[in-house]
């Protein structure tokens, strides 16, 4: 065979391959969106039916919370206190529905660590109040700020004593400043993330919807990876496993529960899992948009006798049932109702396995944060 003829073949080969497949690398504008496997409609619904409204709700709650903080600090009284305490819990419940969206703008602005690092360092907070040096912008201040720090300042003692701390205490003025700064910080950060998603702001919605595929860094890759990582480190470990002593040689750590001062861990965990389930399903089982559930369903992946999509949904319910079955406040339940808490842990463990193994396998998503050679 002559040099020329092989060269011709080589060029023809490359040209054919390029013609056949190269257009795939260029994004086309008028792509069909009717196909069940096209991610476009799923991504739009997830953004419009869940993520964007959930961020706005939390922003609203944090603005209400700031108002209550202002009323309370201007005039600390039993009535402004009660109102503030209730608004704080409302905001906390709203937070539970967005905290796990740990990707995109929320990841860039480290929203989770800024708003909900628990356990909070109550001693460091007291030292900061006494010295009057309030700096919430350092990485080392994650455990002195956000909702857990507010929980400590507002629910850290009986109502009367707390009101006293904000009126008659020698450091009352500093304490007010600290509380006001906390509220301001929460509003600022949730506003940043909410803005980043909006069309007039960063329009991350546009980026999110356009970023198709399942590779590292694609929207589905980001969602599934952040979800499974969050379930592992924050749903299973931080909320149940760590208090139960699963990560500390079997020795329980009551003070590490979420919402320690309001004794509301179970209600918080329950609204967190409910949020996860709504994010997965988008709405109620009879009326919902096209979410992760539907995308998993479109792959027709099975889980034993049932569909994987349904099996995961059922596991969210199972986890919810097991968590809500815990009667006592979690800091007591970990020793007095060990078996119930352990069952909740097992249910969450199964949820971790299902997202990390079955779900990512069915979607062909690389559970990895690093690009790599494959073969």
């Amino acid at each position: 065979m002559s040099f020329n003829s092989i060269t011709k073949t080589l060029l023809t080969g490359i040209a054919s391959a390029v013609i056949l497949l190269m257009p795939s690398c260029v994004t086309s504008e008028n792509e069909e969106e009717t196909l069940s496997l096209d991610q476009g409609p799923y991504l739009e619904d997830i953004a419009d039916d869940y993520i964007i409204p959930a961020y706005s709700s939390f922003l609203e709650s944090s603005i209400s919370l700031q108002k209550e903080v202002n009323s309370f600090t201007e005039q600390p009284s039993p009535s402004t206190y009660t109102s503030l305490s209730e608004t704080l819990m409302d905001a906390y419940y709203e937070w539970e529905a967005i905290g796990f969206l740990d990707f995109g703008p929320a990841f860039t602005h480290t929203l989770r660590a800024n708003i909900n690092t628990f356990p909070t360092d109550n001693f460091a907070i007291e030292i900061a109040i006494e010295s009057g040096e309030i700096d919430l912008d350092k990485i080392s201040s994650y455990n002195k700020k956000g909702l857990p720090a507010m929980d400590y300042l507002i629910n850290g003692a009986a109502a009367e004593e707390v009101i006293g701390n904000f009126t008659t205490d020698p450091f009352a003025e500093n304490r007010k400043k600290y509380l006001v700064a906390l509220a301001q910080d929460i509003v600022d950060r949730s506003n940043l993330v909410s803005q980043a998603w909006s069309f007039d702001g960063g329009n991350y919605r546009g980026t999110f919807i356009g970023n198709k595929g399942t590779a590292v860094g694609s929207s589905f890759g980001l969602m599934v990876n952040s979800l499974s990582q969050y379930l592992e480190s924050f749903t299973r470990d931080a909320r149940i496993g760590i208090p139960l002593g699963k990560r500390s040689q079997g020795v329980p750590i009551p003070k590490s529960v979420e919402g320690y001062y309001s004794q509301n861990s179970i209600a918080l965990a329950s609204s967190h899992i409910n949020g996860l389930k709504r994010y997965y399903l988008l709405g109620t089982s009879s009326n919902h948009g096209m979410g992760l559930y539907d995308y998993v369903k479109s792959t027709k992946a099975s889980y034993g006798e049932e569909l994987l999509a349904d099996a995961i949904l059922n596991q969210f319910d199972e986890a919810l049932t097991k968590v809500e079955a815990i009667n006592l406040p979690l800091e007591r339940a970990i020793t007095e109702e060990y078996d119930l808490v352990n069952e909740a842990h097992t249910a969450l463990q199964k949820l971790v396995v299902m997202t990390k193994v079955e779900m990512s396998s069915a979607l062909g998503i690389l559970i990895s944060y690093q690009d790599n050679d494959g073969d």
Partner: protein
């Protein structure tokens, strides 16, 4: 018989195809290494991890301090350049083989068939007499245009083996009858314009599976015959470019396309080199002669025999190969299965009767965790690593059990290993791992 073989092996053939191979191989390796460094993988894969999964029998291969690791990659890049340009050829080839293989042996997390292929080829290159041809400046001493056919046949046979064994590995019910795992992987490309809409079609997964198997099994032969070579090379380009566009497959497609030029006629290669200012490719016929030819032939023959036999060692183990992975590596099983897993390590201290859990994320990088969670030998290694860690913390009586869920080809996950066994008391060896639970669908 022996004399026929001797005649075949020592028959003089043109050195030109091997010079093309040498230059392309060196160039591709240089690109791969620079790509590896610029992507930050030296840090990510070798400096950042706290623990490395060494190969059985190669536990003594340890990672070096960060600066030296970068130095190793620097030397590797220079050696690749040396291979390409023909500078101190044999030294360059040997240095490249040693540095590359050293890096690969540090951690089996990053095992890839194409890395293994590079190691094998680099070792072969060390023994090939390709050092007399260099760019720009003719070398002093004897130069030659022809070499014994052995040196051309060996790399061709190895490339043939890679394809053929990759094809044999595809002859299994999952691949052929169920189109697994391609029916899981292809829909992930549905976002691609033009070809995207058909990626979810089941017939396409079957077409790709069957075409892939037939391609792998036949391509070495089609490349050998003069009449089919042109079409075969066309298929090589189409096949590897498709895999490059559809899967995260790195430099492998280009290495294979470049390697298949070895099958072209020497006339083609000579025409190619006549286009370049290469000074020392002689036009008159001079034949390379070595008085060690016989012993070299014997050595390379033994090496080839090992290459032929090694992929069959899985037959010595009971159970499903994809599940146990006993004899899976170094056998050209390329992109054969979708496997994912999650491992929970249960620690019990009989002294205090307390129990707790350890997860891979506490100590491993995501890439390491992903590989460890599905491969029994790595799970055992990690259990022993944990045992040492706990001993350092003063907990020397702990028992370590693993609850590992693995999903194979999209099936619901099952337990991979017996969760009742204390892994810290089990030693790894070449025997059958009885602590792996049997596969069930």
């Amino acid at each position: 018989m022996i004399s026929t073989l001797k005649n075949i092996l020592s028959k003089p053939v043109s050195i030109a195809p091997l010079i093309t191979f040498r230059v392309l191989f060196g160039f591709m390796m240089l690109c791969s290494i620079l790509r590896f460094i610029t992507k930050g993988w030296v840090y990510e894969q070798y400096i950042r991890p706290e623990y490395h999964f060494t190969y059985y029998g190669f536990e003594w291969v340890q990672v070096l301090p960060p600066l030296l690791m970068y130095a190793i990659f620097g030397i590797m890049a220079l050696a690749a350049l040396g291979i390409m340009m023909g500078w101190a050829y044999h030294w360059s080839a040997a240095l490249f083989f040693l540095t590359f293989t050293y890096v690969e042996l540090i951690d089996k997390t990053y095992y890839l068939n194409h890395y293994y292929f590079v190691s094998v080829m680099a070792l072969v290159l060390v023994f090939l007499p390709l050092g007399r041809v260099s760019f720009f400046k003719p070398k002093e001493g004897p130069i030659f245009s022809h070499i014994p056919q052995l040196y051309l046949l060996l790399p061709k046979v190895i490339i043939g083996l890679v394809y053929f064994y990759a094809g044999v590995a595809k002859l299994n019910p999952e691949w052929l009858i169920e189109a697994l795992p391609l029916r899981i992987w292809l829909p992930a490309n549905s976002h691609l314009p033009l070809v995207g809409p058909i990626m979810g079609e089941l017939w396409l997964a079957y077409a790709f599976s069957w075409f892939g198997a037939i391609y792998d099994l036949s391509i070495p032969f089609l490349l050998c015959y003069r009449k089919t070579r042109k079409y075969a090379f066309f298929m090589v380009v189409v096949f590897h470019m498709s895999t490059w566009l559809l899967f995260p497959i790195g430099m492998f497609p280009f290495i294979m396309i470049a390697s298949s030029t070895l099958f072209f006629s020497s006339k083609w290669h000579r025409s190619l080199w006549s286009l370049f200012p290469i000074k020392s490719l002689p036009t008159d016929r001079t034949i390379y002669y070595s008085k060690h030819f016989k012993s070299k032939a014997l050595l390379l023959g033994v090496f080839l025999l090992i290459q032929v036999l090694l992929p069959w060692r899985f037959l010595a183990y009971p159970g499903k190969l994809f599940w146990t992975e006993q004899g899976y590596r170094f056998s050209w099983r390329v992109m054969l299965m979708e496997k994912a897993g999650y491992a929970i390590f249960h620690i019990t201290d009989p002294l205090t009767d307390r129990s707790w859990e350890i997860y891979a994320k506490d100590y491993l990088t995501p890439a390491q965790e992903k590989q460890m969670s599905t491969q029994p030998d790595m799970i055992l290694q990690f259990a022993h690593f944990l045992k040492d860690k706990l001993r350092e913390e003063g907990l020397s009586s702990t028992e370590i059990r693993a609850e590992v869920y693995v999903s194979l080809n999209g099936q619901a996950s099952k337990l991979l290993i017996d969760p009742s066994l204390d892994l810290s008391t089990i030693r790894d060896d070449f025997g059958h791992k009885t602590w792996i639970l049997p596969y069930s669908r």
